[in-house]
Symmetry: C2
Subunit: 408 residues, 2 copies
Amino acid sequence: MSLIVQKYGGTSVGTIERIQAVASRVAESHRAGQQLVVAVSAMSGETNRLIGLAKEIDEHPSSREMDVLVSTGEQVTIALLCMALNNIGIEARSYTGGQVRILTDDAHGKARIKEIDSHRLQDDLNAGFVVVVAGFQGTDEKGNITTLGRGGSDTTAVALAAALEADECQIYTDVDGVYTTDPRVVASAQRLDKITFEEMLEMASQGSKILQIRSVEFAGKYNVPLRVMSSFEEGPGTLISLEEDDQMEKPVVSGIAFNRDEAKLTIRGIPDQPGVAYKVLGAISDANIEIDVIVQNVAKDNSATITFTVHRDDLAAAQKLLTQIAADLGAKEVDADDAIAKISIVGVGMKSHAGVAAKMFKILADEGINILLITTSEIKITVVVEERYLELAVRSLHSGFDLDTSVA
Amino acid sequence: MSLIVQKYGGTSVGTIERIQAVASRVAESHRAGQQLVVAVSAMSGETNRLIGLAKEIDEHPSSREMDVLVSTGEQVTIALLCMALNNIGIEARSYTGGQVRILTDDAHGKARIKEIDSHRLQDDLNAGFVVVVAGFQGTDEKGNITTLGRGGSDTTAVALAAALEADECQIYTDVDGVYTTDPRVVASAQRLDKITFEEMLEMASQGSKILQIRSVEFAGKYNVPLRVMSSFEEGPGTLISLEEDDQMEKPVVSGIAFNRDEAKLTIRGIPDQPGVAYKVLGAISDANIEIDVIVQNVAKDNSATITFTVHRDDLAAAQKLLTQIAADLGAKEVDADDAIAKISIVGVGMKSHAGVAAKMFKILADEGINILLITTSEIKITVVVEERYLELAVRSLHSGFDLDTSVA
């Protein structure tokens, strides 16, 4: 008998009718002989309603009390889902994070799971119950309620799957799988049958929003096979797992990720000296501004140029800081540009294929697209281009790397 | 330093503004040097909203899951109240029933408190925190969430006061105290400064809805002084405590309770034999119909007459049953009357005063009010009269026992 953890997000449980539809799907799996643990989010809109109440009182409420407040959202869903399951003849039991217990650290609002006590759940599973667990929440050593932060329900599901040594962790969402790229930009984008944890991580970190990065990391670390599926349609979804070497013709590029949330800053003519990168980037980090791509070059006159990207919302603050730093270091100038887009091609196939980067640059050059920045990792090549070229670049790369037809 | 438990019901915390008003009141007590534990209900309307969601799924949902669902109502309030307290500079910490922990039996929806672990609360109080506890809820031996049933927040407050050996338990509500009778019926009704547990129990069981009977029983059992106060106005409220013998002129009657929820059934001409009362009333009880007043007489011909009252909603069912019983026992006739009202005069002073009953009957006779039934207990005399005489009877008794002016 296989043990499956299923996770349903806020949209999938957004109304009573949808909760009943989830119950039917769970019942189907249960009747097919699977042992089932179901992790759920708050009904869509509920978390924001609760946050709204808190903000009426205090713009920055206590994070401990915020967790007590918002954790009620999933608690409502687990009870309703169990009722819907009972109503169609499936015995089910609900558990809050504290009841399981899902032990976390005490970082309210962004807690990390340390340990899950799976005994009680295992007993219920053995007795034939479907177990329904509140996602997104846990309890610290002292019994205080904690939350894992937005999207934390995915992490709950994966952690439960790891603790219970489940055969698969199925994440039900509003898309039917992971695509080669965003179908809204490239109509010929293809659903992938399989993708590796590494690839998914790179896709996620580059703007593919289907899964939370932490849950993919977690799944990779404990080797929990993850499957992304649609709550609303039938279909096999996309399986995310360890790389398998049995594929004869592994595609070089599995997918193309992109985003336009970032802005680029450049500081030029910094007298080169040890520690320059730290002086520049450390000050930005200290201001809690997250830095993404970083590139440094040294010019003929030995002066250094550092370019980096930050979230567009942080551009004004970062530019102000950088102007001060430039003055302190005796640098020549500071440039800012927020009309940029970041595009990454991702694929474990790159590890064993030469010339992938050259091919990427040629495809872009053929379209007359100027590359502003390049960084590479083992399974990913990222470029920054002018924002107006984004769609053209993604479409050209999608067809240039044969993704219009291939299914990995 | 005195330790006070305060309880605020759903209307008192029904909006963000009211929660902020409660916070101000709590802050005032805290700044006056009191240690404070605050028990709260769900925001008014919230429990019904949650029940509505459940009923959309199942008219009779699992009671275990119902408790998981509705217990979120108080959890929202404790978090918001702590935020409101923090926002005006008072350090506060919230606890769910499970976190305290308030250990109950496993009777979901109507659980009874078995034990309260007050260590953590006491530590917080000693450290200067205001402690905010979710009313109405607890946890059973296995860690399942339980609820105490409607009105259970009063019981939570009293139980916390008993466990913490608090100096007083203050129940904040929408009235400013306990009155000699319902001011909507008798304009000259007076707020009582003091009343005994026994009197309050009799008042409550006779239809005065200010406090739940269980919470008064609990307070009496552990001798926790209870004070009923208004959430919306200043004032001393009414203190409910053990009888004190130091009052020279204790009023004979403290208050007049009444209700018109009942109907009267009479079975006449039952051949008298042992066990007749059981045969009649046992069958009614077995049908889960609650019986209130019972009176039995024996007629000259040795046939028995039994009269009793039930809730009006149960009249039809009870009458049908009684007609069958009458046939079985060979009784002569069955009468039913739902145009009745029950009136009780209550007062510990009756214990030491003769002639109270006679005075009551004379007052009613002087007004030409016929008494249909009489029962008495040590501190209460109850009569049933025709419903149309209710207001006249209550007003006459109120003035006849000098309640228009006296304050106990």
